[in-house]
């Protein structure tokens, strides 16, 4: 069979909707024809692209929306009224649910950010607007800080995770945010949240507060995972004080062997630099 004829069958073959008697025809052909074989190969190779996991934020936002809907319904507002003031209706319902409040703030921020960018694009160059933009930006930053801080204090680990994520979106973090992140790194009950906090702190490695906080956090960690990640970050930041602290830490009794190995590696790396 010729390649053109096979080409007509290939999509069905790939989509597993080809009739049994034709399947053999195609398979015989692709066994011999490199060109058509490659077509099948790239289709199969696509499965290498992994599935992504949405963040917990997606579900929170959805639930906020659903809460708003449920509350609106329980108040027995007429459908017509809902249509007339969808925004107001959502707004007031969301303001009442605590989880929804955070989500609402996030959505509002995103919208504000988009508007900000739009405004920036439209009116570049005028000084009055630049000032306005700066003020807007300042407001956005401080609101983000607020969101991050309030999320970091939540009961649920997934919400604290969101808090950590938010803290990295604050361009210039203030000491309060950094303090909260360091506190999370030291005391949070969840290893995932501690690791996320560590990742967030990586962005602010130039801050002295972060550097000393990281070194202090090391002896307090119980989880080898976090310990190793911390050592790696200290090496990455090439902190001069870290060598001695690492050496001290190595003397800790009952240290996990993998962690001990990592400490030795870290000391070597830092002494070399």
């Amino acid at each position: 069979m010729k390649c053109e004829e096979i080409a007509q069958l290939l999509p069905d073959y790939l989509g597993r909707s080809l009739k049994q008697d034709k399947i053999k025809l195609v398979e015989d052909h692709i066994g011999q024809c490199a060109e058509c074989g490659a077509q099948v190969a790239i289709w199969q190779k696509l499965s290498l692209i992994p599935d992504e996991q949405p963040s917990p934020m997606l579900r929170s936002r959805f639930e906020a929306m659903l809460n708003a809907y449920e509350e609106g319904k329980s108040e027995k507002r007429s459908l017509a009224a809902e249509h007339r003031s969808t925004v107001g209706w959502n707004f007031w319902s969301w303001m009442r649910a605590p989880l929804a409040q955070a989500a609402f703030a996030l959505i509002f921020l995103a919208a504000g950010f988009l508007v900000g960018r739009h405004v920036e694009g439209d009116r570049q160059g005028t000084t009055g607007n630049t000032q306005e933009l700066a003020a807007l930006h300042q407001e956005l930053t401080s609101t983000r800080q607020l969101v991050a801080l309030s999320l970091l204090q939540q009961q649920s680990a997934s919400e604290r995770l969101q808090g950590v994520t938010w803290s990295t979106r604050v361009g210039q973090p203030d000491p309060e945010i950094l303090g909260a992140l360091l506190h999370t790194l030291r005391y949070d009950a969840s290893v995932d949240v501690r690791l996320a906090a560590l990742d967030a702190l990586r962005h602010f490695g130039d801050e002295q507060q972060v550097r000393s906080g990281l070194v202090d956090a090391l002896p307090r960690q119980q989880s080898p995972l976090v310990q190793i990640a911390l050592i790696d970050l200290l090496v990455e930041l090439r902190d001069a004080d870290a060598v001695q602290r690492l050496k001290n830490f190595e003397q800790t009794p009952n240290l996990n062997p993998a962690v001990r190995q990592r400490v030795q590696w870290g000391v070597k790396q830092l002494s070399r630099g």
């Binding site: 692209i49 599935d51 949405p54 997606l58 929306m65 319904k73």
Partner: protein
């Protein structure tokens, strides 16, 4: 599904469980942007809630959801120019069992996918990752089934070429000029 139309909010939760991950992956693969993908998924569920009356009982529900998903994306990019740039973040975060080479191949493949035209990319994502039948895709896009098959075929050809170019470029950086001339030729 019918109950959504009748306004029972809890059912939306069931739909969310069933569809949020496929939809999120649909958008991730199409746009290469995680944050945007989450925004779009959120918008889809908002629209499902808002326009639930437009679902016609007896018609395939999945098709209706994907119709909304498509429109949501089209509306988004109507307001904003599409940027399908590869963000480093999009590389798989943790793939413990895969070798480094497979990880790199996956990354290059996704980049190649993002270089395809909208039409070709969408048809591949829908058929390969969302497991939609060609008939469903044809109805969704408002074209003949055969057109969909031809698009799949051309998309794969082009994808192969782009993938080859990216692989060559990543293996021997800057020593080879990328091939571009034959890519648009198709079948």
């Amino acid at each position: 599904m019918l109950r959504v139309r009748d306004g029972v909010g809890e059912m939306l939760g069931v739909l969310f469980d069933r569809y949020h991950s496929p939809l999120y992956n649909f958008y991730c693969k199409l746009t290469g942007d995680r944050t945007l993908s989450e925004d779009l998924v959120q918008e889809v569920f908002f629209r499902i809630l808002k326009y639930r009356q437009t679902y016609r009982p007896g018609t395939p529900f999945r098709a209706w959801v994907y119709q909304i998903a498509r429109n949501t994306r089209i509306d988004h990019f109507r307001k904003q120019k599409p940027e399908v740039e590869w963000e480093v973040e999009m590389s798989p975060a943790v793939v413990p069992t895969d070798s480094a080479q497979q990880k790199q191949e996956a990354e290059l493949l996704h980049r190649a996918l993002l270089e395809l035209s909208e039409e070709k990319r969408e048809v591949l994502v829908l058929s390969r990752f969302q497991d939609l039948k060609y008939e469903e895709i044809a109805r969704l896009m408002g074209c003949e089934v055969n057109t969909v098959k031809v698009r799949v075929h051309r998309a794969l050809q082009e994808l192969r070429q782009i993938f080859q170019r990216l692989t060559d470029a990543s293996a021997i950086p800057s020593s080879r000029t990328p091939r571009t001339s034959e890519e648009s030729s198709g079948v």
